[in-house]
Assembly symmetry: none
Homo-oligomer: 210 residues x 4
DNA sequence: GATGAATGAGTATTCATTCAT
DNA sequence: CATGAATGAATACTCATTCAT
């Protein structure tokens, strides 16, 4: 009879937000942000249309919420207070982690790829006009820059061992391209990657670029 | 002052169609199929909204037209009535051609990537319900299958030279991944690929996989 | 620790009702009945949305409640069981009272003006379909008619003194117009009426029409 | 068979705009801006909902359009390039004109009164955020200020004749209040003002304040 | 062929009201 | 009594498509 405590309300809210975001992620990823409708998202989440607006102020903010949630989770997997020095073992671990997250978050990557293709939506989400993307309060760019720097340093150091014929920038480009290409292929593969080529590809990449 | 011949009419029609398709490609690629509007496309093409429907029965058919036109042109660059045997020089030429077309048709690849991400639209276009995609009358799949077969054969033959440690399937996967990754990077690069890395990457890929 | 008496309950209810009505009056007056939202009213009153429905059955009934409360209070300031004869002193007192209430209830007059402009809402509130407006149980019209009659009588008697050139109906019209015009000006004046023109206007009106 | 000329289109547009504005004015004036719906306006205008958006970008811009049109027309009735000096005959003419326009534009005054009661809407329309109100390109305030100045000058000059007991500011206030009060009464009067009191009131005002 | 006014189905969003706790 | 999550009907607005001229 007595009303719910504010903590109970908070729990309900958090649960509901995730429920909605999960349904929306599925829709956004598979039919695209613009083609996805609030009606369909609500139906999939098993709630009324209006309820979504109790949790997100607009369709765009719902998208921002999803991206934020996923990015925060993803970046959480990579040690942020690192010493900045990447050993070979750490490099290998990093690769394995990347592909692990590729598998776990395939829907999200699909969504992100679609979003980034379209400058307009992209800027509305990442730009200053609406909710700015951030991971634990820090802007997204900080993380990517930090990653890039460490990676560049790693390949530079490899040059010292491999000799003057080794072009570290080119090598890094080839590495990232291979990873990206594999990611794209995986994202588009209908369900699971055929056979054990997922694992074999990881090993091949590690063998080639470690 | 004699009336135009029917051939002249046909040429004018073809010219108009291309004008419209160019404007539409730009819009579809940059804001996405769903977010693009007929109004904006017509304005960019410098024609009225109604006129577009003189040339294309619907927005979807306009999209199909664009994809058809580009695919036909692209496949035209690869010899279809080939003997089915890929020499090393032909392989290298093929790679150079692929990247050449990547550069020439960047807008189109962007569009295609976006379309393929979204099952729904994709199926409406490629599926049996509406205009089926075809290149010079033959279904698209024939071409891709032919390419894949020749490529697989090429890598299988390389195994004979390289010895038993060489996994031809894996090698081919790595090759296509690298190409795809490079394509993705290029599609997303804002204007031109920085410096001469475009060319250097091509050489690196050729050097590695030829 | 004895349970509250029903009278205490009644007092608490009455207090709550007034709290809600005050918040609602502020909103209704400043943004209009339709643009005002229950959410905003509840927030301003410091209660939950649901609670408001414990005291008023609907948004419209809340409006009716406000108007009833204010009208009852206002009419209470004018002696209802009067002998029906208005002396010059009583006329002057009446004018002063009117302007006093104009000052005290500015928000309410603003609301009333807005409501009366809109036939639809007006009829839903004052009409027979919903809660009929009444002051202490008697319909509003009785009061206004009584006022009008006494006022008309007052000006008629003035004619006897002023001679045949005096048109009592016209004089009364000019009087009510001047009062209304002043009221309108005051309602729209941003905060306080500038300087001492509020008082000076009252004196001028009394001097002219008493 | 040939398409309409751009002049024909322009004529259609102007006609349609007025048709829509007339229907909207009726709705806005009688049920209020917020309570009025685009559906109802469209139905009254005998057009589809969507068409309105071919002529006005939003409901607010439709309102701005109406106010602009009416204000422009109204101000057009008052000689703008006046010498700034108001004779008694001109003063009388001005009063008659005002009441004439009051009669002709009753709907509009009703609308304006309702709008001005609600700060929020009012500011969105008159403020810098949306379409700024202007009359023939000049901001509205210029006209009102010019009017006020000439009027003030008129009453000041009357003081010179009437002697030191005459308070020009007070007199002007009484004058404007009477006019406003009459306007309000008229706006609210159901159909026509009863009897010949409309004309008689005008004469009374002229007699008193000229 | 060419134009753009006109339509109407569909979409995001709001908000009074209900109800389980 | 009190709360705010939940609903759904209603509303402003968009846009592919049609059609008279």
């Amino acid at each position: 009879m007595s009303p719910r405590t504010s903590q109970q309300f908070e729990e309900i809210r958090e649960e509901r937000k995730n429920l909605i975001m999960n349904a929306a992620l599925d829709q956004f990823a598979n039919v695209g942000f613009h083609a996805a409708t609030i009606s369909q998202i609500a139906k999939q989440a098993g709630i009324s249309k209006g309820l979504m607006y109790n949790y997100f102020r607009s369709k765009e903010e719902l998208l921002a919420g999803i991206i934020n949630r996923s990015l925060t989770e993803i970046y959480g997997h990579f040690d942020p207070d690192h010493d900045g020095y990447l050993t070979e073992d750490e490099f290998e671990l990093f690769i394995r982690k990347v592909f692990d997250l590729l598998k776990q978050k395939r829907q999200f990557w699909k969504l992100l790829l679609g979003i980034m293709l379209q400058r307009g939506v992209y800027e509305n989400i990442f730009g200053a006009t609406t909710v700015p993307l951030s991971v634990s309060g820090e802007p997204v760019t900080q993380f990517t820059e930090s990653f890039t720097a460490q990676m560049a340093d790693y390949f530079r150091r490899k040059q010292e061992v491999s000799g003057p014929g080794y072009d570290p920038v080119m090598e890094m480009l080839m590495f990232t391209n291979t990873v990206k290409g594999f990611a794209i292929t995986f994202i588009f593969s209908d369900d699971l990657y055929p056979g054990d080529y997922f694992e074999k590809t990881i090993e091949a990449i590690i063998k080639t670029y470690r």
